[in-house]
Symmetry: C2
Amino acid sequence: MAVDEVKLLGFWGSPFALRVEWALRLKGIEYEYVEEDLSNKSLMLLQYNPWYKKVPVLVHNGKPIVESLVIIEYIDETWKNHPLLPEDPFERATSRFWAKFVDDKFVPLIIKMSSSTREQKDKVAEEAREILKTLESCLNLNKPFYGGKIIGFMDIAVAWIGIWAPMLEKIIDVKLLNEEYMPLLNTWFSDVLEVLVIKECVPPLDELLAHYKDYYDRFMATKA
Amino acid sequence: MAVDEVKLLGFWGSPFALRVEWALRLKGIEYEYVEEDLSNKSLMLLQYNPWYKKVPVLVHNGKPIVESLVIIEYIDETWKNHPLLPEDPFERATSRFWAKFVDDKFVPLIIKMSSSTREQKDKVAEEAREILKTLESCLNLNKPFYGGKIIGFMDIAVAWIGIWAPMLEKIIDVKLLNEEYMPLLNTWFSDVLEVLVIKECVPPLDELLAHYKDYYDRFMATKA
Protein backbone atom coordinates (compact mmCIF):
# COMPACT_ATOMS: atom_id res chain seq x y z
CA MET A 1 0.00 0.00 0.00
CA ALA A 2 1.36 3.41 -0.97
CA VAL A 3 2.42 5.72 1.83
CA ASP A 4 -0.22 8.26 2.77
CA GLU A 5 0.50 11.85 1.86
CA VAL A 6 -0.97 14.00 4.59
CA LYS A 7 -0.65 17.76 4.45
CA LEU A 8 -2.17 20.28 6.83
CA LEU A 9 -2.65 23.89 5.79
CA GLY A 10 -2.69 25.83 9.02
CA PHE A 11 -1.92 29.07 10.75
CA TRP A 12 0.08 28.92 13.98
CA GLY A 13 -2.38 31.20 15.81
CA SER A 14 -5.56 29.34 14.79
CA PRO A 15 -7.30 27.24 17.45
CA PHE A 16 -9.14 25.40 14.68
CA ALA A 17 -5.93 24.32 12.96
CA LEU A 18 -4.54 23.39 16.37
CA ARG A 19 -7.45 21.02 17.01
CA VAL A 20 -6.63 19.16 13.82
CA GLU A 21 -2.92 18.95 14.67
CA TRP A 22 -3.84 17.46 18.03
CA ALA A 23 -6.02 14.84 16.32
CA LEU A 24 -3.23 13.93 13.88
CA ARG A 25 -0.68 13.66 16.69
CA LEU A 26 -2.95 11.63 18.96
CA LYS A 27 -3.28 9.15 16.08
CA GLY A 28 0.46 9.24 15.42
CA ILE A 29 -0.06 10.26 11.79
CA GLU A 30 2.91 11.78 10.01
CA TYR A 31 1.98 14.99 8.23
CA GLU A 32 3.51 17.93 6.47
CA TYR A 33 2.51 21.19 8.07
CA VAL A 34 2.15 24.14 5.68
CA GLU A 35 1.94 27.54 7.34
CA GLU A 36 -0.47 29.95 5.65
CA ASP A 37 0.02 33.71 5.53
CA LEU A 38 -3.59 34.75 6.15
CA SER A 39 -2.93 38.27 4.85
CA ASN A 40 -1.73 36.79 1.57
CA LYS A 41 -3.46 33.45 1.16
CA SER A 42 -1.80 30.83 -1.00
CA LEU A 43 -3.30 29.65 -4.25
CA MET A 44 -3.35 26.19 -2.69
CA LEU A 45 -5.62 27.38 0.13
CA LEU A 46 -7.93 29.26 -2.25
CA GLN A 47 -8.08 26.26 -4.55
CA TYR A 48 -8.75 23.73 -1.79
CA ASN A 49 -11.19 25.85 0.21
CA PRO A 50 -12.80 28.37 -2.15
CA TRP A 51 -15.97 28.39 -0.03
CA TYR A 52 -14.51 29.68 3.25
CA LYS A 53 -10.91 30.51 2.21
CA LYS A 54 -9.88 29.50 5.72
CA VAL A 55 -7.53 27.15 7.50
CA PRO A 56 -7.41 24.36 8.46
CA VAL A 57 -7.44 22.27 5.30
CA LEU A 58 -6.31 18.66 5.44
CA VAL A 59 -5.06 17.30 2.14
CA HIS A 60 -4.96 13.50 2.14
CA ASN A 61 -3.50 11.91 -0.98
CA GLY A 62 -4.47 15.03 -2.92
CA LYS A 63 -8.05 15.24 -1.59
CA PRO A 64 -8.94 18.31 0.50
CA ILE A 65 -11.10 18.15 3.60
CA VAL A 66 -12.14 21.41 5.28
CA GLU A 67 -13.82 22.58 8.49
CA SER A 68 -12.01 21.45 11.61
CA LEU A 69 -14.69 19.19 13.11
CA VAL A 70 -15.36 17.56 9.74
CA ILE A 71 -11.61 16.98 9.39
CA ILE A 72 -11.32 15.40 12.83
CA GLU A 73 -14.16 12.99 12.06
CA TYR A 74 -12.46 12.17 8.75
CA ILE A 75 -9.20 11.45 10.57
CA ASP A 76 -11.06 9.28 13.09
CA GLU A 77 -12.76 7.27 10.34
CA THR A 78 -9.63 6.88 8.22
CA TRP A 79 -7.10 5.93 10.91
CA LYS A 80 -8.75 3.58 13.39
CA ASN A 81 -6.14 3.56 16.19
CA HIS A 82 -6.83 5.73 19.27
CA PRO A 83 -10.54 6.26 18.50
CA LEU A 84 -11.51 9.88 19.12
CA LEU A 85 -15.29 9.53 19.13
CA PRO A 86 -16.81 7.03 21.57
CA GLU A 87 -18.36 3.82 20.21
CA ASP A 88 -21.85 4.32 21.56
CA PRO A 89 -24.14 6.32 19.19
CA PHE A 90 -25.64 8.38 22.02
CA GLU A 91 -22.20 9.31 23.36
CA ARG A 92 -21.06 10.10 19.83
CA ALA A 93 -24.06 12.41 19.37
CA THR A 94 -23.29 14.06 22.71
CA SER A 95 -19.68 14.71 21.70
CA ARG A 96 -20.74 16.15 18.35
CA PHE A 97 -23.36 18.32 20.01
CA TRP A 98 -20.93 19.90 22.49
CA ALA A 99 -18.25 20.49 19.89
CA LYS A 100 -20.83 22.26 17.72
CA PHE A 101 -22.16 24.13 20.76
CA VAL A 102 -18.70 25.59 21.42
CA ASP A 103 -18.37 26.69 17.80
CA ASP A 104 -21.91 28.07 17.57
CA LYS A 105 -22.13 29.73 20.96
CA PHE A 106 -18.69 30.46 22.40
CA VAL A 107 -16.76 31.51 19.28
CA PRO A 108 -19.21 34.31 18.31
CA LEU A 109 -19.05 35.65 21.88
CA ILE A 110 -15.27 35.93 21.67
CA ILE A 111 -15.61 37.92 18.47
CA LYS A 112 -18.35 40.09 20.00
CA MET A 113 -16.32 40.61 23.16
CA SER A 114 -13.37 41.82 21.12
CA SER A 115 -15.36 44.59 19.48
CA SER A 116 -17.54 45.96 22.25
CA THR A 117 -17.70 48.86 24.65
CA ARG A 118 -16.66 48.30 28.27
CA GLU A 119 -20.21 47.74 29.43
CA GLN A 120 -21.05 45.36 26.57
CA LYS A 121 -17.81 43.43 27.21
CA ASP A 122 -18.86 42.59 30.74
CA LYS A 123 -22.28 41.49 29.59
CA VAL A 124 -20.84 39.27 26.86
CA ALA A 125 -18.24 37.88 29.26
CA GLU A 126 -21.08 36.92 31.59
CA GLU A 127 -22.72 34.98 28.73
CA ALA A 128 -19.39 33.34 27.92
CA ARG A 129 -18.95 32.25 31.55
CA GLU A 130 -22.43 30.70 31.47
CA ILE A 131 -21.38 28.63 28.47
CA LEU A 132 -18.19 27.52 30.19
CA LYS A 133 -20.21 26.60 33.28
CA THR A 134 -22.48 24.51 31.03
CA LEU A 135 -19.43 22.76 29.59
CA GLU A 136 -18.24 22.07 33.12
CA SER A 137 -21.55 20.43 33.96
CA CYS A 138 -20.87 17.76 31.28
CA LEU A 139 -17.67 16.59 32.91
CA ASN A 140 -17.98 13.15 34.42
CA LEU A 141 -16.46 13.26 37.87
CA ASN A 142 -15.30 9.66 37.59
CA LYS A 143 -13.37 10.16 34.37
CA PRO A 144 -10.45 12.49 33.69
CA PHE A 145 -11.52 13.48 30.17
CA TYR A 146 -14.72 14.09 28.26
CA GLY A 147 -13.65 11.11 26.18
CA GLY A 148 -13.38 8.92 29.29
CA LYS A 149 -10.03 7.48 30.32
CA ILE A 150 -8.30 8.78 27.22
CA ILE A 151 -8.53 12.10 25.48
CA GLY A 152 -11.10 12.18 22.68
CA PHE A 153 -13.10 14.22 20.15
CA MET A 154 -14.78 16.54 22.61
CA ASP A 155 -11.56 17.11 24.55
CA ILE A 156 -9.68 18.28 21.49
CA ALA A 157 -12.67 20.29 20.27
CA VAL A 158 -12.88 22.27 23.52
CA ALA A 159 -9.35 22.36 25.00
CA TRP A 160 -8.18 25.40 23.00
CA ILE A 161 -10.38 27.50 25.27
CA GLY A 162 -7.95 26.69 28.10
CA ILE A 163 -5.29 28.54 26.11
CA TRP A 164 -7.35 31.30 24.49
CA ALA A 165 -9.52 32.31 27.46
CA PRO A 166 -6.63 33.33 29.77
CA MET A 167 -5.13 35.25 26.86
CA LEU A 168 -8.38 37.10 26.17
CA GLU A 169 -8.67 37.91 29.85
CA LYS A 170 -5.36 39.77 29.57
CA ILE A 171 -6.05 41.51 26.28
CA ILE A 172 -9.67 42.56 26.74
CA ASP A 173 -9.65 42.77 30.53
CA VAL A 174 -12.57 40.47 31.22
CA LYS A 175 -12.96 37.50 33.57
CA LEU A 176 -13.84 34.27 31.82
CA LEU A 177 -12.43 31.43 33.87
CA ASN A 178 -12.79 31.46 37.60
CA GLU A 179 -11.30 28.74 39.74
CA GLU A 180 -13.89 29.09 42.45
CA TYR A 181 -16.85 29.31 40.10
CA MET A 182 -15.77 26.48 37.80
CA PRO A 183 -13.07 24.45 39.56
CA LEU A 184 -13.69 21.23 37.64
CA LEU A 185 -13.38 22.88 34.25
CA ASN A 186 -10.15 24.57 35.31
CA THR A 187 -8.75 21.24 36.49
CA TRP A 188 -9.79 19.62 33.22
CA PHE A 189 -8.10 22.38 31.18
CA SER A 190 -4.88 21.84 33.17
CA ASP A 191 -5.06 18.06 32.79
CA VAL A 192 -5.78 18.01 29.08
CA LEU A 193 -3.12 20.61 28.29
CA GLU A 194 -0.64 18.51 30.28
CA VAL A 195 -1.16 15.45 28.05
CA LEU A 196 2.23 15.13 26.38
CA VAL A 197 0.98 15.04 22.77
CA ILE A 198 -1.06 18.18 23.40
CA LYS A 199 1.60 19.96 25.44
CA GLU A 200 4.15 19.42 22.69
CA CYS A 201 1.86 21.10 20.20
CA VAL A 202 0.83 24.42 21.70
CA PRO A 203 1.95 27.73 20.15
CA PRO A 204 4.34 29.85 22.24
CA LEU A 205 2.00 31.64 24.64
CA ASP A 206 3.92 34.93 24.71
CA GLU A 207 3.93 35.14 20.92
CA LEU A 208 0.27 34.23 20.78
CA LEU A 209 -0.53 36.97 23.29
CA ALA A 210 1.55 39.52 21.35
CA HIS A 211 -0.11 38.51 18.08
CA TYR A 212 -3.65 38.83 19.35
CA LYS A 213 -2.87 41.99 21.37
CA ASP A 214 -1.50 43.61 18.22
CA TYR A 215 -4.54 42.48 16.24
CA TYR A 216 -6.90 43.82 18.91
CA ASP A 217 -5.08 47.15 19.24
CA ARG A 218 -5.12 47.69 15.49
CA PHE A 219 -8.80 46.81 15.35
CA MET A 220 -9.65 49.19 18.18
CA ALA A 221 -7.63 51.96 16.49
CA THR A 222 -9.95 51.73 13.50
CA LYS A 223 -12.88 52.39 15.84
CA ALA A 224 -11.31 55.30 17.72
CA MET B 1 -35.12 -6.87 23.08
CA ALA B 2 -37.53 -4.20 24.29
CA VAL B 3 -39.31 -2.11 21.66
CA ASP B 4 -37.61 1.22 20.97
CA GLU B 5 -39.43 4.29 22.16
CA VAL B 6 -38.81 7.00 19.61
CA LYS B 7 -40.35 10.43 20.04
CA LEU B 8 -39.79 13.48 17.88
CA LEU B 9 -40.49 16.96 19.23
CA GLY B 10 -41.09 19.07 16.15
CA PHE B 11 -42.94 21.98 14.65
CA TRP B 12 -44.84 21.45 11.40
CA GLY B 13 -43.26 24.55 9.79
CA SER B 14 -39.64 23.75 10.72
CA PRO B 15 -37.34 22.56 7.91
CA PHE B 16 -34.96 21.21 10.56
CA ALA B 17 -37.63 19.02 12.14
CA LEU B 18 -38.67 17.95 8.64
CA ARG B 19 -35.15 16.71 7.86
CA VAL B 20 -35.28 14.45 10.89
CA GLU B 21 -38.73 13.10 9.98
CA TRP B 22 -37.40 12.27 6.53
CA ALA B 23 -34.46 10.38 8.05
CA LEU B 24 -36.78 8.42 10.37
CA ARG B 25 -39.13 7.55 7.51
CA LEU B 26 -36.35 6.56 5.13
CA LYS B 27 -35.19 4.12 7.80
CA GLY B 28 -38.74 2.92 8.42
CA ILE B 29 -38.53 3.76 12.13
CA GLU B 30 -41.82 4.06 13.98
CA TYR B 31 -41.96 7.26 16.01
CA GLU B 32 -44.36 9.37 17.97
CA TYR B 33 -44.51 12.92 16.66
CA VAL B 34 -45.12 15.61 19.28
CA GLU B 35 -46.06 19.01 17.89
CA GLU B 36 -44.55 21.93 19.82
CA ASP B 37 -46.23 25.30 20.22
CA LEU B 38 -43.17 27.51 19.76
CA SER B 39 -44.93 30.52 21.30
CA ASN B 40 -45.54 28.47 24.44
CA LYS B 41 -42.81 25.86 24.59
CA SER B 42 -43.50 22.68 26.52
CA LEU B 43 -41.64 21.79 29.71
CA MET B 44 -40.46 18.69 27.88
CA LEU B 45 -38.77 20.78 25.18
CA LEU B 46 -37.16 23.11 27.73
CA GLN B 47 -36.00 20.15 29.78
CA TYR B 48 -34.57 18.21 26.85
CA ASN B 49 -32.99 21.16 25.06
CA PRO B 50 -32.26 23.87 27.64
CA TRP B 51 -29.30 25.09 25.55
CA TYR B 52 -31.16 26.09 22.38
CA LYS B 53 -34.81 25.61 23.43
CA LYS B 54 -35.51 24.61 19.83
CA VAL B 55 -36.97 21.76 17.83
CA PRO B 56 -36.19 19.16 16.65
CA VAL B 57 -35.42 16.97 19.65
CA LEU B 58 -35.32 13.21 19.21
CA VAL B 59 -36.00 11.26 22.37
CA HIS B 60 -34.86 7.67 22.06
CA ASN B 61 -35.67 5.42 25.02
CA GLY B 62 -35.73 8.52 27.22
CA LYS B 63 -32.46 10.00 25.97
CA PRO B 64 -32.65 13.33 24.14
CA ILE B 65 -30.59 14.16 21.07
CA VAL B 66 -30.70 17.69 19.67
CA GLU B 67 -29.55 19.60 16.58
CA SER B 68 -30.92 18.19 13.34
CA LEU B 69 -27.67 17.05 11.71
CA VAL B 70 -26.46 15.47 14.95
CA ILE B 71 -29.80 13.68 15.21
CA ILE B 72 -29.60 12.38 11.64
CA GLU B 73 -26.11 10.97 12.27
CA TYR B 74 -27.41 9.38 15.46
CA ILE B 75 -30.28 7.79 13.55
CA ASP B 76 -27.84 6.55 10.90
CA GLU B 77 -25.54 4.98 13.50
CA THR B 78 -28.34 3.44 15.54
CA TRP B 79 -30.44 1.93 12.76
CA LYS B 80 -28.17 0.44 10.12
CA ASN B 81 -30.66 -0.20 7.28
CA HIS B 82 -30.76 2.30 4.39
CA PRO B 83 -27.42 3.96 5.28
CA LEU B 84 -27.71 7.73 4.94
CA LEU B 85 -24.02 8.64 4.97
CA PRO B 86 -21.79 6.98 2.34
CA GLU B 87 -19.25 4.36 3.47
CA ASP B 88 -16.13 6.08 2.21
CA PRO B 89 -14.60 8.51 4.76
CA PHE B 90 -13.89 11.18 2.14
CA GLU B 91 -17.46 11.03 0.82
CA ARG B 92 -18.76 11.12 4.39
CA ALA B 93 -16.67 14.24 5.07
CA THR B 94 -17.98 15.82 1.86
CA SER B 95 -21.60 15.17 2.86
CA ARG B 96 -21.01 16.59 6.34
CA PHE B 97 -19.28 19.63 4.90
CA TRP B 98 -22.12 20.53 2.51
CA ALA B 99 -24.81 19.99 5.11
CA LYS B 100 -22.93 22.32 7.46
CA PHE B 101 -22.33 24.77 4.60
CA VAL B 102 -26.08 25.08 4.01
CA ASP B 103 -26.72 25.70 7.69
CA ASP B 104 -23.81 28.14 8.09
CA LYS B 105 -24.21 30.06 4.85
CA PHE B 106 -27.70 29.73 3.42
CA VAL B 107 -29.83 29.83 6.58
CA PRO B 108 -28.42 33.19 7.81
CA LEU B 109 -29.06 34.69 4.36
CA ILE B 110 -32.72 33.70 4.53
CA ILE B 111 -33.01 35.43 7.87
CA LYS B 112 -31.15 38.49 6.57
CA MET B 113 -33.29 38.58 3.43
CA SER B 114 -36.45 38.59 5.50
CA SER B 115 -35.47 41.72 7.41
CA SER B 116 -33.88 43.93 4.77
CA THR B 117 -34.72 46.90 2.61
CA ARG B 118 -35.56 46.33 -1.06
CA GLU B 119 -32.02 47.07 -2.19
CA GLN B 120 -30.42 44.87 0.49
CA LYS B 121 -32.85 42.05 -0.35
CA ASP B 122 -31.64 41.88 -3.93
CA LYS B 123 -28.01 41.87 -2.81
CA VAL B 124 -28.62 39.09 -0.30
CA ALA B 125 -30.65 37.12 -2.85
CA GLU B 126 -27.66 37.33 -5.20
CA GLU B 127 -25.45 35.81 -2.47
CA ALA B 128 -28.05 33.11 -1.85
CA ARG B 129 -28.15 32.24 -5.56
CA GLU B 130 -24.36 31.91 -5.55
CA ILE B 131 -24.65 29.37 -2.75
CA LEU B 132 -27.32 27.43 -4.60
CA LYS B 133 -25.13 27.47 -7.71
CA THR B 134 -22.29 26.05 -5.61
CA LEU B 135 -24.58 23.30 -4.36
CA GLU B 136 -25.52 22.55 -7.93
CA SER B 137 -21.85 22.15 -8.87
CA CYS B 138 -21.58 19.20 -6.43
CA LEU B 139 -24.26 17.19 -8.17
CA ASN B 140 -22.86 14.17 -9.95
CA LEU B 141 -24.38 14.05 -13.40
CA ASN B 142 -24.28 10.25 -13.42
CA LYS B 143 -26.24 9.84 -10.21
CA PRO B 144 -29.74 11.02 -9.40
CA PHE B 145 -29.01 12.00 -5.79
CA TYR B 146 -26.15 13.48 -3.77
CA GLY B 147 -26.17 10.16 -1.94
CA GLY B 148 -25.73 8.26 -5.25
CA LYS B 149 -28.45 5.89 -6.42
CA ILE B 150 -30.47 6.29 -3.26
CA ILE B 151 -31.33 9.37 -1.25
CA GLY B 152 -28.88 10.04 1.58
CA PHE B 153 -27.62 12.43 4.29
CA MET B 154 -26.83 15.37 2.04
CA ASP B 155 -30.08 15.00 0.10
CA ILE B 156 -32.22 15.23 3.22
CA ALA B 157 -30.04 18.02 4.63
CA VAL B 158 -30.52 20.20 1.55
CA ALA B 159 -33.90 19.25 0.04
CA TRP B 160 -35.97 21.55 2.28
CA ILE B 161 -34.61 24.45 0.19
CA GLY B 162 -36.67 23.10 -2.72
CA ILE B 163 -39.78 23.81 -0.62
CA TRP B 164 -38.72 26.97 1.22
CA ALA B 165 -37.04 28.87 -1.63
CA PRO B 166 -40.13 29.07 -3.89
CA MET B 167 -42.14 30.15 -0.85
CA LEU B 168 -39.67 32.90 0.02
CA GLU B 169 -39.70 34.05 -3.59
CA LYS B 170 -43.43 34.68 -3.21
CA ILE B 171 -43.32 36.29 0.22
CA ILE B 172 -40.25 38.50 -0.10
CA ASP B 173 -40.39 38.99 -3.84
CA VAL B 174 -36.87 37.85 -4.68
CA LYS B 175 -35.58 35.38 -7.24
CA LEU B 176 -33.66 32.47 -5.74
CA LEU B 177 -34.07 29.50 -8.03
CA ASN B 178 -33.77 29.94 -11.74
CA GLU B 179 -34.34 27.07 -14.11
CA GLU B 180 -32.04 28.48 -16.74
CA TYR B 181 -29.28 29.47 -14.33
CA MET B 182 -29.34 26.25 -12.29
CA PRO B 183 -31.26 23.61 -14.25
CA LEU B 184 -29.58 20.64 -12.58
CA LEU B 185 -30.38 21.81 -9.07
CA ASN B 186 -33.99 22.43 -10.06
CA THR B 187 -34.25 18.94 -11.51
CA TRP B 188 -32.69 17.48 -8.37
CA PHE B 189 -35.17 19.36 -6.13
CA SER B 190 -38.05 17.96 -8.21
CA ASP B 191 -36.63 14.43 -8.14
CA VAL B 192 -35.90 14.31 -4.43
CA LEU B 193 -39.25 15.83 -3.48
CA GLU B 194 -40.94 13.19 -5.65
CA VAL B 195 -39.41 10.30 -3.68
CA LEU B 196 -42.49 8.75 -2.07
CA VAL B 197 -41.24 8.79 1.53
CA ILE B 198 -40.34 12.47 1.19
CA LYS B 199 -43.47 13.43 -0.74
CA GLU B 200 -45.67 11.86 1.92
CA CYS B 201 -44.02 14.00 4.59
CA VAL B 202 -44.15 17.59 3.34
CA PRO B 203 -46.27 20.19 5.14
CA PRO B 204 -49.26 21.57 3.19
CA LEU B 205 -47.68 24.22 0.97
CA ASP B 206 -50.57 26.70 1.13
CA GLU B 207 -50.59 26.57 4.93
CA LEU B 208 -46.83 26.92 5.03
CA LEU B 209 -47.02 29.96 2.77
CA ALA B 210 -49.79 31.52 4.87
CA HIS B 211 -47.84 30.85 8.08
CA TYR B 212 -44.61 32.45 6.88
CA LYS B 213 -46.42 35.31 5.13
CA ASP B 214 -48.22 36.13 8.35
CA TYR B 215 -44.95 35.91 10.29
CA TYR B 216 -43.19 38.15 7.77
CA ASP B 217 -46.01 40.71 7.68
CA ARG B 218 -46.11 40.93 11.46
CA PHE B 219 -42.33 41.31 11.59
CA MET B 220 -42.36 44.06 8.96
CA ALA B 221 -45.17 45.86 10.85
CA THR B 222 -42.86 46.18 13.86
CA LYS B 223 -40.35 47.96 11.63
CA ALA B 224 -42.82 50.34 9.97
